[in-house]
């Protein structure tokens, strides 16, 4: 029973990891750029929730739509101002651009909001959910539910809307998409906006249970990389399933083995998979 | 009788369910020029990539001097004396022309000084000496193609695979390229030439191998090929006739 409880806790946290990774994989799929600053979008989402709560006593759940919009704006603006200039640059300069942004965002957060740990302690979401003899924290359940809903919305958007189809077309073949009259610049900005919004929503969902500090993104970015690689670069569905897998591996591994080696376990699994299947578990060969 | 330099035996290459080459067989004798032709999508480049070691064949065998070599990687094929050029040129853009050729020469002469000498003489042979110290990226398309040939020659191959070396060249440049292939042959190096430019390949080929949809549909001297009804139907078009003697 305890094991089942542990596995399901893994699934819950894995669903949130998946949402962070969905944003990353979206950006990678459309632009072939790995965004090292992705964890910082999550951090900004957390702070957005925190300030809504600290200044106006607004619960992160109420400010969530605003957080999503704000982060969409940040992502799209970042594309317009910086990323646009490196779309065709050598890989090294792409890596270092987003890596520099990561440090810049952390520095800015520290400058404006201090390096202190913050937390939101009076959320509307407290207590436990009991289900068939198992118990889960309400915030964790809501976070997982919110993550599934957001991931599902992104998946639906890509699958069933004209704009989403245009985004997918750009990811598949930029030149062909351009011939069909799709403005690649707009699609890139959209991918960055959506990607940032996903991470921001994940940040908002985690803000009631996680400490909030400028470098919090570091805890998630590595897992997000793993999920993107496991799921297949650019695959939203792949990231989703990989998130569940990794969440379970992490939590169960920490439970059965030493929690200190959770990361080793997850990263080793990642290396094993990319070694055997460089295109990821669900990516096309 | 000694085996031919290259024997392709029932070579088949499938990608997924699609057969790019099906039972392709032909021989190349030492010092011979073979023209490999066929309409777009006939599988010429696939044959090429199999011969150069880039694609392991699904079935069939490739023999070099009678020894089986199918499935060996490109670097082994190069060491065994099979050099190639690429349809879309792949020169080393960050290097000078000379350095590009030195990389080829280093296959058999790793010492930099010897490789430099060999590379210079190869450049002299193909007429690129003047450009030796220019960055390779600054060459014209025709010169880049010539550089690829030079680089391949510096590997001291017995068999040279030329992939559309004449495509996109002007009339004069095609004539120069034809002349170069003749002089390569005079050195005793066999060539397999994939070509779309007919006036380029017809006069110099000892034999032509025609591919259509992955199969060999004809194999013979250029004159005979040009009059072969199957070939005409598949590829050359009714109006094409072999050039007069």
């Amino acid at each position: 029973m305890l094991l089942l409880q542990t596995i399901l806790s893994g699934v819950l946290i894995g669903l949130v990891y998946a949402l962070v990774a969905v944003g990353l994989t979206l950006i990678f799929g459309v632009m072939d750029i790995v965004n090292f600053a992705h964890g910082e979008f999550l951090m900004l989402g957390m702070y957005s929730s925190f300030w809504g709560f600290a200044l106006w006593k607004l619960d992160p759940l109420f400010t969530l739509p605003f957080t999503a919009l704000l982060l969409f704006g940040v992502g799209a603006a970042l594309y317009r101002v910086v990323i646009r200039r490196i779309t065709d640059a050598p890989m090294l300069s792409q890596i270092f651009t987003t890596f520099g942004l990561m440090i810049l965002f952390r520095g800015l957060a520290q400058y404006f909001w201090s390096p202190d740990f913050r937390s939101i302690d009076q959320s509307v979401l407290t207590g436990k959910v009991a289900f068939a003899g198992l118990q889960f924290g309400l915030p964790q359940v809501v976070a997982a539910g919110g993550a599934v809903a957001t991931t599902g919305a992104v998946w639906w958007f890509l699958r069933f809307t004209r704009l989403g189809a245009a985004l997918e077309a750009t990811a598949a073949d930029k030149e062909a998409a351009a011939l069909m009259g799709i403005d690649a610049q707009k699609m890139f900005a959209l991918a960055w906006g959506l990607g940032a919004a996903c991470a921001g929503v994940a940040g908002a969902l985690l803000s009631t249970t996680f400490p909030i500090f400028p470098e919090v993104g570091a805890n998630f970015i590595l897992f997000a990389f793993v999920l993107v690689a496991l799921g297949g670069f650019g695959s939203v569905a792949g990231a989703f399933w990989a998130g569940i897998l990794i969440g379970v591996v992490e939590v169960v591994g920490g439970y059965l083995w030493d929690p200190a080696y959770k990361l080793v376990l997850v990263l080793s699994l990642y290396l094993l998979v990319v070694w055997l299947r460089p295109q990821g578990l669900m990516g096309k060969a | 009788m000694s085996p031919p330099l290259l024997a392709v035996e029932r070579l088949t290459k499938r990608f997924g369910g699609l057969a790019a080459n099906e039972d392709v067989s032909f021989n190349v004798a030492a010092g011979e020029i073979i023209g490999l032709i066929g309409p777009n999508g006939a599988g010429k480049t696939t044959v090429f990539n199999s011969l150069a070691g880039f694609f392991p064949p699904t079935s069939g065998q490739i023999r070099l001097d009678g020894q089986p070599v199918a499935g060996l990687p490109p670097e082994r094929m190069a060491a065994l004396g099979v050099a190639r050029t690429f349809q879309i040129v792949r020169i080393f853009k960050s290097m000078t022309v000379l350095e590009n050729v030195m990389v080829g020469a280093m296959l058999h002469h790793p010492a930099v000084r010897v490789a430099t000498e060999r590379a210079l003489s190869a450049l002299d042979f193909t007429g690129l000496t003047r450009r030796a110290h220019d960055p390779a990226g600054r060459l014209t398309v025709a010169e880049q193609k010539r550089l690829e040939v030079t680089r391949a020659l510096a590997c001291e191959p017995r068999l040279l695979l030329l992939d559309e070396t004449m495509a996109g060249l002007t009339q004069t440049e095609v004539q120069e390229a034809v002349e170069l292939v003749r002089r390569i042959q005079a050195r005793g190096i066999a060539c397999v030439v994939v070509e779309h430019v007919m006036e380029g390949i017809m006069p110099i080929a000892d034999r032509m191998v025609v591919l259509e949809r992955g199969h060999v549909i004809a194999d013979g001297p250029p004159r005979a090929i040009a009059e072969d009804p199957a070939v005409i139907a598949a590829y050359l078009g009714e109006e094409y006739r072999a050039p007069g003697p």
């Binding site: 520095g107 | 792949r90 990389v103």
Partner: protein
């Protein structure tokens, strides 16, 4: 004065400056900054063999730097082995480790390779963190005594560290130079430019990438030993972090990736900027130094990805050759 002569003159002047600096400048802070520059430069030059010449961007090189630090320290603590020998033992272990890591990872290309190396680096850090023999998260410390040449411990003056760092940097540059002057260097550049073309010319990608990673990681490990001797305290955070891996590649990109002296220039610049922003803004504890550092990285990566040397080349292109173009070769003329 031709560009080559000018370059050599500048290099000699820089060497002279590096050699004389600690004799002239006696401030401990400045001396320490100079040692730091030399050490960071050495890491960057070591990284450059794999990341710059061969184009395989490793973001996990701290694993090798840390291996060097831990191996020599452990040998010194357990068997009293002099770090001078420990340095080479560390290099050997790091090179062996790099082959084990490189063999599977070289199947991956570009971003995929870079991300796998981050994972490797993080795994090594996490493993050492939990490994009691290596002191876990606390790390290992070396005794302050005995001092002197063989134990490579110097208390009274930092001068010896300066010259060891300079010597190690020169050694690393020498190895690098020898590589570029041999067929291996040509092959690595060929692999970076056009891997398929390199293969068609007989270059085994795996073999030469493995050469590159073994050399690169062995040299990085030697830097690790020096770091351990200078600080006398090593822990996973300071010797195995991804941040350190990033720094090695960062100095290379700042100075000029795939050039001999680029990483040295990058190390001097980066260390100067880091120290200046730390001294200028760091005390506030408000992250201003990170803002400056991050902004600078972004600006360089976006506007000057070929580094300082690339900028010089663009700004001052080599003057047109003085000699008239050579006459067309007779062979070409002979063609009809």
């Amino acid at each position: 004065m031709s560009r080559a002569v000018l370059g050599r003159t500048i290099a000699l002047a820089a060497l002279g400056l590096a050699a004389l600096f600690p004799l002239v400048v006696t401030s401990a802070t400045w001396q320490n900054t100079a040692i730091l520059m030399l050490m960071v430069a050495q890491m960057g030059v070591a990284w450059n063999i794999l990341g710059g010449y061969a184009g395989q961007v490793s973001l996990g090189h701290a694993a090798f730097f840390g291996t060097g630090a831990y191996v020599s320290t452990l040998l010194a603590l357990r068997f009293g082995l002099t770090p001078w020998a420990g340095m080479f033992a560390g290099a050997g272990v790091a090179a062996a480790l790099s082959l084990v890591i490189g063999w599977p990872c070289f199947r991956l290309k570009g971003h995929y390779f870079a991300m796998a190396t981050i994972a490797v680096g993080e795994i090594v850090q996490a493993v050492v963190n939990g490994w009691d023999l290596l002191g876990g998260a606390v790390g290992l410390s070396l005794p302050l005594h005995p001092t002197g040449f063989w134990p490579m411990v110097f208390n009274r003056s930092k001068l010896p560290y300066h010259y060891i760092a300079l010597g190690l940097l020169l050694f690393t540059l020498l190895v690098n130079w020898l590589v570029t002057r041999s067929h291996v260097g040509y092959y690595l550049r060929a692999i970076k430019d056009e891997p398929d073309a390199a293969r068609s010319l007989g270059v085994s990608l795996t073999r030469y990438k493995l050469y590159a990673i073994a050399l690169s990681s062995g040299l990085a490990a030697m830097g690790g030993t020096l770091y351990a001797q200078k600080e006398l305290l090593i822990d996973p955070g300071s010797t195995l972090s991804t941040g350190l891996s990033i720094k090695m590649s960062l100095v290379a990109i700042m100075g000029g990736v795939g050039t001999l002296t680029g990483p040295v220039i990058g190390a001097v610049l980066l260390t100067a900027i880091e120290e200046a922003s730390r001294m200028g803004f760091g005390g506030t504890g408000r992250g201003t130094d990170m803002v400056v550092y991050g902004l600078l990285i972004v600006l360089i990566a976006v506007y000057q990805p070929s580094g300082v040397l690339g900028w010089i080349k663009q700004r001052f292109p080599a003057s047109a050759p003085a000699a008239p173009p050579a006459p067309a070769s007779p062979v070409e003329g002979a063609a009809p």
